[in-house]
Symmetry: C2
Subunit: 267 residues, 2 copies
Amino acid sequence: MKIKIGIFDSGIGGLTVAARIFELLPQVDVVYFGDTARYPYGPRSSKVVQKLSYQNTRFLLSKKVDFIVVACNTASAFALDHLKRKFNTPMLGVIEPGAKTAVRYTKNKRVGVIGTVGTIASKSYSKAIRKLDKNIRVFSRACPLLVALAEEGYINKKATTMIVQEYLKPLVRKRIDTLILACTHYPLLKGVIARVMGSKVKLIDSAEEIAFELKRCLRAKRVTARSNERGTHAFFVSDVPEKFVQVGERFLGRKIRRVQRIEIDRY
Amino acid sequence: MKIKIGIFDSGIGGLTVAARIFELLPQVDVVYFGDTARYPYGPRSSKVVQKLSYQNTRFLLSKKVDFIVVACNTASAFALDHLKRKFNTPMLGVIEPGAKTAVRYTKNKRVGVIGTVGTIASKSYSKAIRKLDKNIRVFSRACPLLVALAEEGYINKKATTMIVQEYLKPLVRKRIDTLILACTHYPLLKGVIARVMGSKVKLIDSAEEIAFELKRCLRAKRVTARSNERGTHAFFVSDVPEKFVQVGERFLGRKIRRVQRIEIDRY
């Protein structure tokens, strides 16, 4: 049985998720939608994020996908439950896989979470972690400037290190041993974040964890693609494709072909 | 005759324009719309900015405004001509007033422009300036991180100074004597920008210039409000009002009352 996965994200950040899915599940067909006309979702309210996510899901379903991956942390935090109530298609968000892995890794039961204003305000990670282990203490911090820095490629700069230091100082002080990078843009700043946190703190990349979880889900549902066939990858965006292609190739780590602009408001 | 001005902006930046208009024209009624569900406009394409600006204008016209001020530089650059073709209501954008003032100020005929990726790519300021004086050389630079820094209140920070220095270094080298702050967020970083450019460089704040121009326009049209009456000010946004009120008061320099959320997609 041929399976088709739909992934949506506020823009290009979710390509870090797509990259891991392409690696782990090379046989499946993937339709990726990046909402580049309306990104970023991080500073928006739950009401607006739910509406945008609803339209994105309707678009992916119009492409006949069998499974939906909500690659954006803010959308997973604010809209996943809402979407599950509205649609029957199986769905996976980034929060539970990241939370599970953090629970598995932490030894001192002190976990940090960094993300957008929306993701942190939703307390989704704290709730997911404490549902698994009530004894874990979760320390969260919104880092609103990191998305812009990652997106502009402002990576190996002293200013970026200073901003990361200021954001992470309180978490270092709390002696966490595990830090969830709860935004798909942050893996691009993994080097700086690792240097600031020190080598003893394990960094959890939500992009990796959701790809593993997706593989488990498909296996559990006995959905496996024929292993000798390579899946097709199609990309859709809501603004013109140029910047998506240019910046996106840095996120995806390979060439992006077949990108098409759609009018997302119509869905 | 009672006059009502409609102002729209991608979000809160245009409040620096509203503040100047309230000061200079205390008698006029003002309806402000901040497109907080879809900001920022800076990185979006002209196609998308035109569509958003069209909806914003339709909303303001539904409020029976007599005059429209496009307070956002990116929207002025990409959409003002488009809007003028679609609507009969008189309109004013931020670009011409800023360009005019720069032409008046420069002595060595070397003018700098800093703005969003969209505003700079449009070359609108260069064109407007060179239409007024062909001998002026215009040096432009997109500074995409400055909006996020201003919005997050990351003002008096060393990291911000370093980023501003890196952006402005090429303009300092070009020995400009006038610099247009072609984004409504930049006045919040005026202190840092002034320190980096040095005291000999005149900074032009597009918010101030458009307010003066509006006053001249209204006078030319013989539209003057009765001077003993104070105008009313109403604010509308497309996302929930909380953040707009909180951050906006820093931009406006006074309390914001009467903010209402609307569904901008319906216009």
